[in-house]
Amino acid sequence: MAVALDAVVQLGQLLLVLALAPLLTGYVRRVKARLLRRQGPPLIQPYRDLYRLLRKEVVLAHTASWVFRVAPYLIFATTWVAAALVPTFASGLVFSYAADMIAIVALLGSARFMLALAALDVGTSFGGIGSSREMMIASLAEPAMLMVVFTLSLLAGSTQLSSIAAFMQGPGIGLRVSLALALVGLIMVAIAENARIPVDNPTTHLELTMVHEAMILEYSGRHLALIEAASHLKLLLYLSVVACVFVPLGIAASGQGPTAYLAALAVYVAKLAAGGFLLAVFETAIAKMRVFRVSDFLGAALMLGFLATLLLFVSRVA
């Protein structure tokens, strides 16, 4: 009985992240527009976009192979599974023990691998640009993310996100420099991975400024819908990680009743709204960097992560 209830809650989380992700992106776009004194699209516009794309015909290039056709499904599936593993309103759910933070980072790496291959599949130069730049960004962002994971794991004694969230909710932490550095590093990596300004512009149409957009240039119809859904899910995933690790108040532990879950859900939605707002303000306030300055930016994130790990040893003295 308890197992069945746990499974239902886990399934609920799976569907919840899928339902909330486009709303989050719509909200961020709306806030950005308002900050630029525009009306902005309605909040549910991403849902409409996905619906429209799903009903359209796919136009495939002559040179596209099965990799091109299968990749969107795999990208969507891996990103969805990774997003469902992050505790949103409840920690310690059944599925969350199947994979820890390192596995989540690696799942996102799988999605990126498939996307980069699909970009090279058609044999155009845009796919090549996007793919090579994305792999360069990933070669720095993934180690930076793993250093942040190291810091958190060394602190909490576990790589499981549920355990880290539980540890952060507990009393024994205090303010630590390492956590501040890890937070800054995580935010920098999140910006790079989600293709946000200052690393990449999600609304650009200029070839030389594209990274993510260049990789999906040849996609259309339902394939494009799946890839867009995957990028919405990725943004939700990173915001959820920041929320559950650094602002863990209000997460319900596994096994509490449905009222606790609903209250935690409301807190979670509020956290997402706050995070989305801050992201929109940050993106509006800053300009996009040159591509080769991205390596300095992410190198700084890697250094911050590494410094956070080193400084942990100082504060663990005595």
Binding site: G174, V177, G299, A300, L310
Partner: protein, 220 residues
């Protein structure tokens, strides 16, 4: 000692190390001066917090001196000097930013490795502050040797001074007199250096040390 007090002191000291890293990374002239102001601000906040938890009122004066002299007066003076020299817009090419940052991290690890085992009998706060202070000193030296511009080197020198203040206040009981003299000597050194820079600029139209090197008189 109270855990919160320890944590806040720790935050300030760690923040000082972080601002030293930001100094290493900066390549704009005005940016360097501003970040140095931030550096001095963090030092003064740290000293003020030490005054609060050590119940040593004279340290409040030290904090105020650090704040007024190093975070306000000197940066304003430096801004004036660099505007007069006309170099406030230059972007200095920081050679090998990646390698410099890696070296900085190595220096932080080295200072932790040296300081923590040596001070095994001291109190936690003092140990951490000494380790962080040594890091700040080493990072300031690294900044001095990785820059070509004289103004940047002066700022690196002054950040070393901030590290010394952190070390001195972390260990209890540094007298105020020494602090005043140190501050005054810095001020005088700055004035001298300012005049010097102005003269160099007048003579050679540049403060780039590389160019100065050729005029030392020892080269054939």
């Amino acid at each position: 000692m109270d855990q919160l007090a320890l944590d806040v002191a720790h935050m300030f000291a760690g923040g000082l190390v972080l601002v030293s890293f930001m100094l290493l990374y900066q390549d704009r002239m005005s940016g360097i001066v501003n970040i140095f102001a931030l550096h001095a601000l963090v030092v003064s906040l740290s000293v003020a917090w030490q005054a609060y938890i050590q119940l040593a009122p004279h340290l409040y004066i030290t904090a105020t001196i650090a704040l007024v002299v190093k975070a306000i007066v000197i940066p304003v003076a430096l801004h004036r000097i660099i505007v007069r020299l006309g170099i406030h817009r230059t972007i200095e090419p920081v050679v090998g930013v990646g390698l410099t940052m890696l070296a900085g991290i190595g220096l932080v690890a080295l200072s932790i490795m040296v300081m923590l085992p040596i001070t095994a009998e001291a109190g936690t706060l003092a140990r951490e502050d000494l380790a962080f202070a040594l890091s700040v000193i080493l990072l300031g030296l690294l900044m001095m040797i990785s820059r070509r511009n004289a103004v940047s080197q002066v700022i690196g020198f002054m950040s070393i001074e901030n590290g010394l203040i952190l070390a001195a206040t972390g260990a209890k009981g540094m007298p105020l007199v020494v602090e005043i003299s140190v501050a005054f000597s810095i001020l005088i050194a700055l004035i001298v250096i300012g005049i010097f820079l102005f003269r160099i600029r007048e003579r050679f139209d540049s403060v780039d040390i590389h160019l100065l090197h050729e005029h030392r008189g020892e080269q054939p």
